[in-house]
Every structure is written in C-alpha cells, then in structure tokens.
C-alpha cells in the first residue's frame, strides 16, 4: 500500500490516540497513589481495613477489566431506584473502571516492593535513632519505589495497550479508528499503522522509565 494512503488514515488514528493518551495519563496519575494507599491498608494492623482492602484487590484482579467497564457503564444505570442518577459520562465511566482496576495491581506491586526490603534496613534505622515516621519516609519508601519501578513500568505498558478496551463503552480510540478504516477500505493496512503508533507510545514510555530507574539508582 502507498505511503499516501497511510498518511491519509493517520489523521483519524492520531485523533483516537488522544483518547488513548488522555485515559492513560488519568489512570496512571490517580491509580498509583490509590494503589499505594491500598498497600498501606492491606498491611494495616486494623484487621477490618486490611480484610476489606484484600477483598477489593481480589475482586478487581479476579474479574476481567472489560467486565468491570461494562458493569460501570451499563450495569449501574440498571440498579432500581438509584440507577438513573448513575448514568456517568462514557469517558468518566471508563476512567473510573481503569483507575479502580489498575489501583489493585499497583497495590500488589508496591506490597512486593515493601516485602523485598531487608530486615537489616529497619534494624539499622533503629540503631541510628530514627523514629517510625523517619524510617518509613527516608529509608523504606525510597527503596520500595526503586524496587517497584520495573514492575510499575511493566504495568504501565500494559495500560497503554488495555486502552483498546475503551470502545466497549463507545469511546472511540486508536484501534477503533483503525477498524473503521479497515471496514471502509477493505484492507488491513490500518492495523499495521495502529501497531506502529502503539509501538511509538510504548517506546517513549519505556525510555521514561529507563531514565527514572537510572535517576533513582542508589547503589
């Protein structure tokens, strides 16, 4: 297929990529702090809170994201009585679903980061006379973030690709515009173009995380 054709289908796809990028930014910025709070809740010494947080992670990780999106978008309005007040804007509904789902994964990633910190680090802090707050903010958390970084990068790349689920709740995104072009022109070239755009996005993301990893090296 000609280069002209590829350029002509590029414009709508880049429009769709805007929705992809916007959802990615919202989901990553909100779900990482939320996931961290969840980690704290899971490790909380107050049992009901720890139990609730574990249940939450179990449900969010244990069901498909697509199912969760469909439930938020089409299930909530069906609830008798309050349903009519729960008709969220599509994009808001989708963002909510991604945030809730990814927070559960990030919570587990951060928990793994905490588990990886050696007991000696806590003992050393104690010897140095740091109190609990100082130990957490100056010794434990910096190491936890550094340890968790590769896993966070991995999950972020997955998030970029999961945005293709947006069209299930009728938000047109990159892959959808590729499909409309495929259906109009009866050729699968648009799929290749979409693949290249995804690769460029994940390449940028990978580079960003590589840079962060170098920046927070502590050896």
């Amino acid at each position: 297929m000609s280069l002209d054709y590829m350029l002509s289908i590029l414009k709508p796809m880049l429009e769709g990529a805007q929705a992809t990028v916007l959802l990615f930014l919202i989901a990553i910025v909100v779900s990482i702090p939320l996931g961290f709070l969840l980690t704290l809740a899971i490790r909380s010494s107050i049992k009901p809170i720890a139990w609730l947080a574990s249940c939450y992670v179990y449900v969010m990780r244990g069901t498909p994201l697509l199912l969760q999106l469909l439930f938020i978008c089409f299930g909530l309005p069906m609830i008798p009585g309050i349903g009519e007040y729960l008709v969220l804007d599509r994009f808001v509904a989708a963002s909510l679903g991604f945030i809730l789902n990814y927070a559960a994964y990030f919570a587990e990633i951060f928990r793994g980061g905490l588990l990886a910190i050696d007991k000696g680090q806590y003992e050393a802090s104690q010897v140095l006379g740091l109190n609990k707050w100082q130990t957490t903010t100056r010794v434990v958390l910096p190491q936890m973030f550094r340890i968790a970084l590769p896993a966070v990068a991995n999950e972020s790349v997955t998030l970029v690709k999961d945005t293709a689920l947006l069209y299930a709740v009728a938000v047109p995104e990159l892959l959808h515009f590729a499909q409309t072009a495929v259906n109009r022109d009866f050729t699968i070239v648009p799929f290749f173009v979409a693949g290249i755009i995804y690769l460029i996005m994940t390449l940028l993301l990978t580079a960003l995380f590589k840079w962060l990893e170098r920046r927070f090296k502590y050896e």
Partner: protein
C-alpha cells in the same frame, strides 16, 4: 521526584478540567436526538476519508430530525452493546441497518420497516459451492450478534454445517474467507454489495438467499411519544420524495419502503 510528581498532578488536573468542560458542552438537551450507530457498517454508516460519519442511514436520520425540528448527534457504539446503550438511556435511537426481529421486538420499539435487506451467502469466486445445500460439512463465518446468525439459525442447513465462527465485524469474516479458513460467510446483502464494488473479482453471492429481512429504527421501550413523532417524520419524507432522493444518492435507485 517531588517536582516530577507535582508536575504530573498539575498536568492531570488540567486534563480533567478540559475533559469536564468538553463534557458540559455535550450535555444532553431536550431537542437533541442521540443516535447510536455502528460506524463500521458501510454503506449504511461509516467514516469517510476525512473521518466524517457518512452513509445512507446518516443522511436519512438527519433529514428525519430536520422534519422533527430536532438536532442530531451521532454516537458510534459497540454494536454488541446496542440494546444496553438504549436501555441505559445513553442513546435515544438505534439507527443503523437495524434488522427487525421478533426477539428484538421484546426489548425495543420499532418503526415501520424502511429498507429491505436479505441475508446472503458469500463464497470465493472460484468456490464449488453453488447452492445452500452445498454448505453441508463446511465452515461458515458471520458477524456475532447480528441478524445473520438469526437467519442461519432459522435455516434447515444450520444442522448440516460443520462449524459456525463468529467475528466482531464483517470485514474480518470476509478476510478469513479470503485466507481460506472459512468456506462461506453469511452477511447483509446491502453490505456485500458495497464490498463487491471495492473488490470485484474475489467473491460471489449465491442466488439462493437465507432470509429476507427488513431494517427498522429502534426506540426505547416506553417512549411511544418519540416513536410516533419519528414515524410521522418518516411518512412525510416518503410523501415529499426526500427518502427517494437519499436512496438514489447511496444505492442508485429508490429502495426505501413506502
């Protein structure tokens, strides 16, 4: 690290405000019809080279809305969730080659049929399959949750077919036919007519069709007022020739049912 985090939060809040504003401007008004369409369904509703939504149903809906003194907004939806979209109130009408079936009549209200269609069987041009009975022991593809599967279910040939494979859209099914994984595809006559103009020599359509069917417009159950208003507009368009003009433009002949 801290500065980076702050920057990211600011960036996100800017986006949020931006998204919120654009949502407000799209707030549903009383005189706006939100029409759920499948923007991958050429020639009824699809995207042209400039990414504009065009098609027979699009022109037809615009003309009807004009008669009703309402404005229209086309909402591309995932065709698999069309009835959920309608019952959750996110769209007012399903209007895109929506086949009237008894099963669907239990869930939505239909206008009178406006277009005739048929489910036909497509094979590769050089295939030995020449009639419906030849499908015995063959692999057949179709678009999932479309009326093609209803038509096949109601046909006696269904029990003799080796396997039915469902696809998310028609083009994927046709591509699978070309690559040889399928022996035949069941598809809307109107749709395959369009693709045959794109690729003339690849396919042939069997003379025997599976089931004649008709397209109607779906309205949410309980909204009889809108149905009545819409039907009146459609009738007017039939009388003053607007419908015929739109049909001429897309099909080269007047196919709209009176």
């Amino acid at each position: 690290m801290k500065r980076l985090a702050i920057n990211l939060v600011i960036l996100a809040s800017v986006f949020f405000v931006f998204a919120a504003c654009s949502n407000n401007s799209k707030d549903k008004k009383e005189d706006t019809l939100i029409i759920g369409i499948d923007d991958k369904f050429a020639p009824m509703g699809f995207r042209d080279d400039n990414n504009e939504i065009v098609g027979f149903d699009i022109d037809y809906a615009k003309a009807a809305a004009e008669k009703m003194n309402m404005s229209v907004q086309f909402q591309p939806i995932d065709w698999k969730t069309k009835e959920s979209e309608l019952s959750s109130g996110r769209i007012d009408l399903i209007w895109n080659g929506y086949t009237i079936t008894d099963e669907r009549k239990e869930k939505v209200l239909f206008t009178n049929p406006y277009l005739k269609n048929a489910q036909v069987v497509v094979t590769l041009a050089n295939s030995p399959i020449a009639k419906l009975d030849d499908l015995e022991g063959k692999v057949v593809g179709l678009q999932s949750l479309s009326s093609a599967s209803d038509a096949l279910d109601n046909s006696p040939i269904k029990s003799k077919i080796k396997e039915v494979t469902e696809f998310s859209d028609n083009v994927l099914a046709l591509n699978d036919l070309k690559s040889g994984r399928l022996d035949a595809v069941v598809i809307d006559e109107i749709v395959i007519d369009y693709y045959m103009t794109k690729e003339q020599d690849s396919f042939k359509v069997l003379n025997e069709s599976l089931a004649p069917e008709e397209y109607g417009i779906g309205v949410k159950k309980g909204n009889e007022a809108l149905l009545e208003k819409l039907q009146k507009a459609l009738d007017e368009m039939n009388e003053d020739g607007t419908a015929a003009d739109i049909s001429e433009k897309w099909f080269g002949e007047n196919k709209v049912l009176q």
